[in-house]
């Protein structure tokens, strides 16, 4: 198997603030994620999914353990280095799309390109990848939720970062739009070898995963490798996928 794009060892994050005077939101997480994989992170509310995703994305400094993404060691590095890391390696996708409201779809995508040093004229091409070339001149408020999320995806994959991180990308969308979004992410992973990590509560998102990781109380609870074909047409999967869950390992942390 190829070199892992995301590598963690006994990774932990402690929030000092709080009523109880501190809390391990993530602890003892050891995990490898490989290029071209779609990994879905699930678990109850407060189990530490967003915290783990934030550390992997270079948004949050780990309190403990080893973390390397795209060959960059992220534990203990400062914000300027993490800023450069994010710019170069990570595309983010959010539940609420987080488009810049004053900018058109094209201009939103152009920001992603500009930050990564690409020519802004490629924005239309990125929008084409998510099927929104026609809407390039539209303002976010003129687009539907699903269309906004597709613009956000175009922005995230503009400049082809090797890792896409999404936190609840389908939570604000209906089932069909959700499938469309996940289909796009999966297609991207398979076509370009982009590593995709998606946090979700939505069980339907499992259908698009190569691997499902369940978290509980800050720990990895279960890793499920899915051995199934994902529907070709992401927008309308007709066949219910055949399930073969297999326990990869129960991680017990200190």
């Amino acid at each position: 198997m190829s070199q892992a794009v995301i590598e963690t060892h006994q990774l932990g994050k402690r929030y000092e603030a709080g009523a109880q005077g501190g809390l391990w939101a993530v602890r003892g997480v050891t995990l490898n994620v490989y290029a071209g994989d779609v990994t879905v992170l699930m678990g109850p509310s407060g189990s530490g999914k967003t915290t783990l995703l934030s550390m992997i994305g270079g948004l949050l400094d780990p309190s403990q353990g080893y973390l390397s993404v795209c060959g960059v060691t992220l534990d203990g590095c400062g914000e300027p280095e993490r800023q450069r890391f994010r710019r170069k390696h990570i595309g983010f996708i959010f539940q609420n799309y987080n488009l810049l409201q004053a900018l058109t779809a094209r201009e939103n995508v152009a920001i992603g390109l500009r930050l990564r040093g690409y020519d802004e004229s490629e924005a239309d091409g990125c929008l084409d990848l998510v099927g929104l070339a026609r809407k390039a001149g539209a303002m976010p408020h003129e687009l539907s939720g699903g269309q906004r999320q597709r613009v956000a995806i175009a922005r995230a994959l503009a400049g082809a970062p090797p890792v896409l991180l999404a936190d609840e990308p389908t939570a604000a969308l209906d089932a069909e739009q959700g499938r469309l979004i996940m289909g796009l992410l999966r297609k991207r992973a398979k076509e370009t070898g982009t590593t995709v990590l998606v946090v979700t509560h939505d069980p339907r998102v499992r259908d698009f995963a190569d691997r499902v990781i369940e978290m509980e109380d800050g720990r990895l609870h279960r890793i499920v490798r899915r051995l199934r074909r994902v529907p070709r047409s992401a927008a309308a999967p007709r066949v219910r996928p055949h399930r073969h869950p297999r326990k990869e390992g129960r991680h017990v942390s200190p």
Binding site: L53, L59, F92, A102, L103, I111, L115
Partner: protein, 379 residues
């Protein structure tokens, strides 16, 4: 990140309007207050600055042009005999009373000089001519002071110090600092219309002598020679007397401070409006700034957006504010108040606006520095 600031403003036109109004407020206040001060200060020493005398001779310790005291006219001959003095002319300024058609009185300043002379400030006439001063009882007033004096026309007969006087012409933009209208007349009438006695009615008195030094003579040496040989007078160079007059009004009366305080207050209020508006815009868009930070935008990139917003509001406000100030200047001129807006003032106000808007943006930038990139998943 160029252009985002402008697009943010376009999308939030109400806030942009408020910020622009804040700038307009500051620009108009600073420009008109300072312009008015400059106008007043110019007027204060106008008759000194425009005179062609090298030296002004007065009694000792005169504080300002308007408050000189009389001294014996015969000292003219002593001054004339000082080596280096080429020409001496009498120039009198004294307070007096003008009878209004309503029955009331107006205070005036009678400025008496030799219309054939060479040293007094030339009158800039809009109606009538200087030669008309040779007519009997002739006086000239400024067109901007007509309203204060009962709207006399050329040819009108009026009463000054209980003597008949005839308005023969109007000057333009030659007004006093004290807002007491100047009434120009000839030397021979200075005691008829003015008040030149120093208590006991004795020999004739004068207020100033204007001195022209001979070609090649050193003004400062002649000035000191006059002070040395003529008792109880002070001889000033034109520039130093001008400065003494201006600085009296500016500093000793505290008036300059008053104007500058008003201008400063305008700047502060405008600045607070702009910074609060930019700050509100920033807070409203904090998630967007967070996303940019998460995407790897630098602090410089984010600061640039806010700065762009501030500077655009500043530029628009500056242009509008200056236009309004020029309009106010015009209106003030026709109402009889001089507001001077010279180019250096415009440049200074532009620089001040630039600073103001940068400082206003700084408040937001400080807030942006505190953004945790991890906030993007928490909104």
């Amino acid at each position: 990140m160029k252009g985002i600031g402008w697009k943010n403003l376009k999308r939030d036109k109400t806030r942009m309007l408020v910020a622009v109004l804040g700038v307009v407020f500051a620009v108009v206040l600073v420009t008109t207050e300072v312009g008015m001060l400059l106008g007043l200060v110019r007027n204060a020493s106008l008759l000194i600055d425009r005179s062609r005398a090298d030296i002004w001779v007065s009694t000792v310790d005169v504080k300002t042009f308007d408050f000189a005291t009389p001294f014996a006219q015969r000292k003219k001959y002593l001054i004339q005999s000082v080596p280096g003095v080429e020409r001496v002319e009498e120039f009198n300024v004294s307070y007096s009373i003008w009878k209004l058609p309503t029955g009331g009185n107006a205070n005036i300043q009678v400025v008496a000089f030799d219309p054939w002379g060479e040293l007094a400030a030339p009158l800039s006439m809009t109606e009538g001519s200087l030669d008309d001063l040779h007519n009997q009882d002739a006086i000239i007033i400024d067109d901007g002071e007509r309203a204060k004096l009962g709207n006399p026309a050329v040819g009108s007969y009026v009463e000054v110090m209980q003597h008949r006087a005839k308005v023969v012409g109007f000057t333009h933009d030659m007004r006093s600092f004290t807002t007491t209208p100047y009434v120009f007349t000839t030397l021979s009438r200075s005691e008829t219309y003015g008040w030149l006695t120093n208590g006991n009615s004795g020999p004739s008195n004068s207020i100033y002598f204007l001195v022209k030094v001979a070609p090649g003579a050193n003004v400062d040496e002649v000035r000191r020679a006059i002070q040395g040989s003529v008792p109880d007078v002070e001889a000033h160079s034109r520039e130093s007397f001008s400065w003494r007059t201006r600085s009296y009004w500016l500093f000793e009366t505290g008036m300059g401070l008053g104007f500058l305080a008003a201008a400063f207050l305008g700047l502060m209020v405008g600045g607070v409006i702009v910074s609060q508006t930019l700050y509100a815009m920033t807070i409203e868009r904090l998630p967007e700034f967070g996303v940019l930070k998460a995407m790897g935008a630098s602090m410089f990139d984010l600061a640039r957006i806010v700065l762009e917003q501030g500077l655009i509001c500043g530029l628009v406000g500056l242009v509008l504010g200056l236009a309004i100030s020029l309009g106010i200047g015009q209106a003030a001129a026709s109402a009889g108040t001089t507001v001077l807006i010279p180019q250096p003032l415009v440049l200074a106000v532009a620089a001040l606006t630039f600073l103001l808007c940068s400082a206003a943006a700084l408040v937001s930038i400080v807030r942006l520095r505190k953004i945790e990139p991890a906030m993007v998943f928490r909104t």
